[in-house]
């Protein structure tokens, strides 16, 4: 089990990242992954530019905790989380999560779990430029609801 976390300004190559994640492990039967991209519209306004701020140190720490939690819940091999910071534009990749496992159910669930928790717990903030000026993106109740789905009753 390896868990790689990267917070970076640079773009990333999804194909190369998945190849590295699989790194010749023939026990892997499934790789589920997710790419988040900058959209040119948000809340009905056109978005030309986006700036992503984070809390260095806590960011990596919170992502490591989320991935470790996923590894206790599902039978997975390796996880990779890449999150970009700094200036981004529509069509840019923002985030990438990939999870490998023997069987597909585990990697699907773990990948979605990591994204849902990342959205509500990892300290990133988006500021976006619209025709009406710059604004900080507001947190969405639907993201809280998505993360709440994974809460265990035990």
């Amino acid at each position: 089990m390896s868990s790689v976390i990267r917070v970076q300004e640079d773009d990333f190559d999804v194909g190369a990242e998945i190849a590295t994640l699989r790194k010749g492990n023939p026990a892997i039967g499934a790789v589920a992954s997710f790419i988040g991209c900058v959209r040119d519209m948000n809340e009905g306004d056109s978005v030309g530019l986006m700036y992503l701020e984070h809390y260095p140190g806590m960011t990596e720490r919170s992502l490591e905790k989320i991935c470790a939690e996923a590894a206790t819940r599902w039978n997975i091999f390796d996880t990779l989380v890449i999150h970009r910071v700094g200036e981004l534009r529509p069509l840019d990749q923002i985030v990438f999560v990939a999870v490998s496992s023997a069987h597909r159910g585990d990697s699907f669930a773990a990948c979605e779990f990591i994204m849902d928790y990342l959205k509500t717990q990892a300290p990133f903030w988006k500021r976006e430029a619209t025709p009406a000026g710059e604004r900080w993106v507001e947190a969405r109740a639907s993201d809280e609801a998505a993360a709440d789905r994974w809460k265990q009753t035990s």
Binding site: G36, L52, E53, H54, Y55, G57, M58, R61, S62, H83, I94, V95, M115, L118, K119, T120, Q121, A122, P123, F124, W125, K126, R127, W136, V137, E138, A139, R140
Partner: protein, 85 residues
């Protein structure tokens, strides 16, 4: 003997600072005590940290509740709900 305050995103802009060293005093026992001291400054501090506003507090990079203890040397970050991903 200080507590290192960290302000992020919109709160960083509203408070006009990303970090601040708060002298540690004996009555700063919990996160709630720090918030009280900051609100007493009035202005944007009072407005943004009003009890009905949505913000989070992390002590030494773990999000905590208002009754979480603080000690000299701690890093206490205050920030809006996160919006990454």
């Amino acid at each position: 003997m200080t507590i290192q305050l960290v302000f992020l995103a919109r709160l960083r802009e509203r408070f006009g600072a990303s970090r601040e060293s708060l002298p540690y005093e004996a009555d700063l026992r919990t996160v709630a005590d720090i918030l009280r001291v900051l609100r007493e400054r009035g202005g944007n501090f009072a407005a943004e940290l009003a009890p009905d506003r949505a913000f989070r507090v992390a002590v030494n990079q773990d999000v905590v509740a208002l009754d979480h203890p603080v000690a000299a040397g701690d890093e206490v970050a205050i920030f809006p709900p996160v919006t990454g991903g």
